[in-house]
Symmetry: C2
Subunit: 215 residues, 2 copies
């Protein structure tokens, strides 16, 4: 933990911040190099192209997030509790590194010209697909078990993404609404609580869950 980061790690670090804030096209390799304390050409020793650097950054972030989402899905709790745990874990993951949500949101809605995508793009794609597949399966289970209403599962996945990823990616607009940073312990706690209740009351089947508001 005290070892200084290698050049490669340092580059990934600063590139993550820059790509998250301004996106792929608006960031130049020269700027990344400067922020990493290197000459521009040194970047091309560590990464074949700008696209490879980008997808390696994106893959790292996705893996970091994915690593947090396995545990809450593996519990034996009922679907509603597993969903709550999944959302909490996702929020924790997004809140831990303020760059994650922006990068992820870009990765989600930006369409990367698959024509000139480097092989690293596939790995990122796979991690993302796995995350989406897991939450999709959980929702389907919950509907089939009668824990959730008969919702449209894909629509609900979309709502979950919007409610988590967009929120923490919203930058100035979100902070203007909230009246402060999105990432303070208070703001994160409140976000979890708000979504917990909204999802509980909004997704629970009508008769099977007469109680309201989980603690």
């Amino acid at each position: 933990m005290a070892t200084p980061p290698s050049s490669r790690e340092k580059i990934l670090e600063v590139a993550e911040a820059l790509f998250a804030q301004r996106g792929f096209a608006a960031v130049g390799m020269r700027e990344v190099a400067g922020a990493a304390g290197l000459g521009k050409s040194s970047l091309f020793h560590h990464f074949r192209s700008k696209a490879q650097l980008y997808y390696e950054v994106l893959g790292r972030v996705l893996s970091r997030i994915q690593g947090r989402l396995d545990a809450p899905l593996r519990t034996a709790a009922d679907p509603m509790e597993r969903l709550q745990g999944w959302v909490d874990a996702l929020i924790d993951a997004l809140a831990e590194h303020p760059t994650s949500a922006r990068l992820l949101l870009r990765g989600l809605f930006e369409d990367h010209d698959l024509a000139k995508a480097p092989p690293e793009a596939e790995q990122a794609e796979r991690v993302l697909a796995r995350i989406l597949q897991q939450i999709h399966r959980l929702l389907r289970e919950g509907v089939e078990a009668g824990t959730f209403r008969p919702v449209s599962v894909p629509d609900t996945v979309q709502t979950l993404i919007g409610a988590t990823v967009y929120h923490f990616a919203s930058g100035e607009i979100g902070e203007g609404l909230l009246g402060g940073t999105l990432f303070s312990a208070d703001a994160v706690r409140r976000r979890k609580r708000e979504l917990r209740v909204l999802l509980h009351d909004g997704l629970a089947a009508a008769v099977a869950t007469p109680t309201r508001r989980n603690p």
Copy 2:
């Protein structure tokens, strides 16, 4: 309506499509010109700079959306019904032009260097602020009237944005989840229905609304 569009309108039209799909930085004036059937220099006769063109496109989209959102807020219905009407109208607006949501999402979370923003940026900003202020006020009213739970109003605004704008901006990912286009009449109807129930059950105060599911 049969009059051919002026060059200016044609430019705004094609620029909207390009900016929506790939973002400000990734689109060149040369490309916009080509798509509009003009030489690059002709663009600079109609627009002082790329930034001005971008903000004029964004302002147009925001105004188009804002124009749909006034009516449902001015009815005398209770807050829950006005909210449902607002969400339906927003979804209709976003679904009508598939470029709107992507452009709006970019405008929401991309941070535009305010240093070099043209005066046109302020107008877009004002329209956006007005939209956010109106929905904020409606939610606050509903909470104070006891129609809604005592939710965090800013968090709920964020959730509403995520559930609408992100959904229709999600492109390939969203279509992969849905298994088809986001913009078919069926998909739009389903989106409205899903959000209607989620918001009704998820936001309604506990005792005041014993019934579930609006028709």
